[in-house]
């Protein structure tokens, strides 16, 4: 027996003394699991059930992808609308007769109480403006040799062109002299020129309006579909000519020339409200409204106010769509909770074992929480990639430029992580609370 032990110990020292020395040397650990180990275990277990993990992530993938794509599309749409509106000029104010903003039916454009004298009074105020132009608008048919066309006729002054950033495709806009004299000249919108003269030269030709000849002196470059009845379908002529040729150019009382609107551009954006106030006061005074305290009989529209209203609307719309998409993120979160609960049940023995070898409840909690977040975060990143692809495809298709903003990226990914944490905490707590013996006994 004694020899046996000696042999045994002899073997021990020669054969495995070094390994025993290593194993039974004092341990110096940090005392807590490293994050990299937690992450490794999490990804091991997610990869062990690839299909299941992917299906679980799908809700988050779709949610994040739609949030990112919709926000990109919304931003793109709003930018495109903004740039179209800005293409008609900068810092514009439109003054129109009647109250436009009282709903359909009550709009009283036919009030015809805005007059050329009002326009001249505004000019006389010497406000800080880039320019101001009256518009007398009516309709008519332009007749050329080969074709005729119903157009919207705009009688105005030369300053109308720079106000609306007009660019000439051919010829010139009419000048001050022609405006003062009321010369019979016309500048055609791009569509009008095309419909009347085809691809042929329009400048220098004569068109007839109510039997009277008008010389075409310019053609505008196409502007494309703006919101306000496209400029491309208009014909522009000196306001004085229009007043002389059309019967409907008088105010209601018949004493003055009416204008359909007055357009002006304010030099500095911060002066817009001040200018608006002064014009409003002037017109109220001139129309005798202050004496009996009645409402304005004109409307001043501000391009800036219009833009900001529009941006508010598109912003709201985008937020609404993103919120709907966010609901699918929530549903994805519930899927994660479901699968994590299944996982806790499946791995009951494993949890018991981990506790038996020294894992604290905290370690188990963290483990399952990290797994849930790993699911939602991986889903979030995949969804981000998908949303990015959708936005890129839409941009490539040319409909509009959808750009994914850093804000929507951080919102979507942040939300995905929060969803993982929120829906992961309950299963993780269940796992952490498991009694090690019950867990080890579990079949």
């Amino acid at each position: 027996m004694a020899t046996n032990i000696a042999t045994l110990e002899g073997r021990g020292t020669t054969k495995s003394a070094s390994s025993a020395d290593i194993v039974f040397a004092p341990l110096q650990g940090s005392g807590s699991v490293s994050w990299s180990e937690i992450a490794r275990t999490a990804f091991d277990s997610l990869l062990a059930n690839r299909v299941r993990s992917f299906l679980t992530m799908l809700g988050v993938i779709i949610g994040v992808a739609s949030v990112v794509a919709l926000m990109a599309l919304g931003d793109g749409a709003s930018q495109s609308i903004t740039s179209q509106i800005q293409s008609i000029g900068t810092n514009l104010l439109f003054i129109a007769p009647g109250q436009l903003n009282r709903g359909p039916g009550s709009g009283n454009i036919a009030a015809q109480n805005l007059s050329l004298d009002d326009y001249e009074a505004i000019v006389a105020l010497k406000l800080p403006l880039n320019g101001v132009a009256p518009v007398a608008q009516t309709g008519g048919t332009l007749v050329a040799a080969a074709a005729d066309k119903q157009v919207s006729i705009v009688g105005t002054t030369p300053s109308y062109a720079p106000l609306h950033s007009f660019e000439m495709a051919a010829g010139t806009f009419f000048d001050e002299v022609q405006a003062r004299d009321g010369t019979a000249v016309v500048v055609l919108g791009a569509n009008v020129a095309k419909d009347l003269f085809g691809s042929g030269q329009a400048v220098g030709q004569t068109v007839r309006l109510n039997g009277q000849p008008l010389r075409v002196i310019g053609v505008l470059k196409a502007k494309g579909g703006g919101g306000f009845g496209s400029v491309d379908d208009n014909a522009f002529m000196p306001i004085k000519y229009a007043q002389q040729r059309f019967a409907n150019m008088r105010t209601a009382d018949g004493n003055k020339y009416r204008v359909s609107s007055i357009t002006l551009s304010v030099t500095n954006a911060q002066d817009i409200e001040g200018v608006q106030g002064r014009i409003s006061a002037l017109l109220r005074d001139r129309h005798g409204l202050d004496s009996d305290g009645s409402e304005d009989d004109f409307t001043i529209l501000s391009q800036a106010a219009f833009l900001s209203t529009l941006n508010t609307i598109t912003g709201l719309l985008t937020a609404f769509l993103a919120a709907v998409a966010g609901i699918s993120l929530l549903v994805g979160g519930i899927g994660i909770m479901n699968i994590m609960l299944v996982s806790v049940t499946e791995r009951t023995r494993e949890i018991g074992l981990r506790k038996a070898v020294g894992a604290r409840s905290r370690d188990i909690l963290l483990q399952f929480l990290v797994e849930a977040v790993a699911l939602s975060l991986t889903g979030g990143l995949l969804g981000l990639a998908l949303g990015f692809m959708v936005a890129t495809l839409v941009t490539l298709s040319g409909v509009l430029t959808a750009s994914v903003s850093l804000f929507s990226v951080s919102l979507a990914v942040g939300f995905a992580v929060i969803v993982g944490l929120f829906f992961g905490i309950y299963p993780a707590q269940r796992a952490a609370k498991l009694n090690p013996i019950d867990a080890l006994r579990y079949e």
């Binding site: 045994l8 110990e9 390994s19 025993a20 039974f24 506790k355 070898v357 020294g358 013996i437």
Partner: protein, 265 residues
């Protein structure tokens, strides 16, 4: 440690000198009652004994006699209904969850009848598990786990998954896992219950070697006399009570050479 001893001393009012430095496990009037609905099961009915450092003890008894319940208490996996338990000078019966986990990690290594290896992990990674929870970093953890596998003769199988190993090999890996945290006590609840006689002998040889060469205290539950024969002392349980406590001359394995052979394969 001193404060823990004092706590223990204060708690049960024993004179300090009775706490022998030589005792690894001291249980006093340990009781465990399970409640199954209205029925109370007294799984342990007041058990007292001491186990010295470096002892190899087998706990025997019929099924349902409370062996596993006792092992779970000794293993700090559960807390007693009443009674006291001192492990290596620490008053375990007064520890909270976090301290129990720390005690398990620092002092104990478990071996189960069903091995309980993580199925998707390699042998090496399974053995590393206790070290992970003690925050031992990569290279050191690797070195220790590999050494533990070498001790149990599984050096050549470090990259095998459990389903690529035989039952005996899996139990060796489980022993390596129990060793890797450098414990003072190995607790084995029917470690050979699922193994054939020859493999059982190999496993017992490893446990005996660890007890003799490394001075590890080994506490083992079995209902096989062949297996209990390797121990130097046999405790016998019946109906939640300790009914026998006998010293014996342990059987020495003759399979050492075979084992070393396996180790070298």
């Amino acid at each position: 440690m001193a404060s823990a001893v004092n706590r223990w001393h204060d708690a049960i009012g024993y004179p300090l000198q009775t706490i022998s430095e030589n005792f690894m496990i001291t249980v006093t009037d340990l009781k465990k009652t399970y409640h199954m609905g209205d029925i109370e099961v007294n799984a342990l009915n007041g058990v007292s004994f001491e186990i010295k450092k470096g002892e190899f003890v087998a706990i025997m008894g019929p099924s349902g006699s409370g062996k596993s319940t006792l092992m779970n208490l000794i293993g700090c996996l559960d807390t007693p209904t009443s009674g006291t338990y001192v492990l290596d000078g620490d008053m375990v019966s007064q520890l909270d969850d976090v301290e129990l986990a720390a005690a398990r990690a620092a002092k104990l290594g478990f071996i189960f009848q069903q091995y309980n290896l993580l199925p998707r992990q390699t042998a090496l990674r399974n053995v590393e598990l206790p070290l992970i929870y003690r925050g031992i970093s990569g290279a050191e953890r690797h070195r220790r786990a590999a050494a533990a596998l070498e001790i149990v003769g599984m050096k050549e199988r470090t990259d095998h998954k459990p389903n690529e190993l035989s039952g005996g090999q899996q139990q060796r890996v489980a022993i390596a896992r129990a060793l890797s945290g450098s414990p003072s006590v190995i607790l084995a609840d029917e470690p050979t219950g699922a193994l054939d006689t020859k493999t059982s002998a190999e496993i017992m040889d490893i446990l005996q070697r660890l007890n003799r060469e490394q001075g590890l205290t080994v506490v083992l539950v079995t209902h096989e006399y062949d297996v209990a024969a390797y121990a130097g002392r046999v405790l016998t349980m019946r109906d939640g009570e300790l009914v026998g406590d006998e010293k014996q001359t342990p059987r020495m394995t003759t399979q050492v050479v075979t084992m070393a052979g396996v180790a070298g394969k």
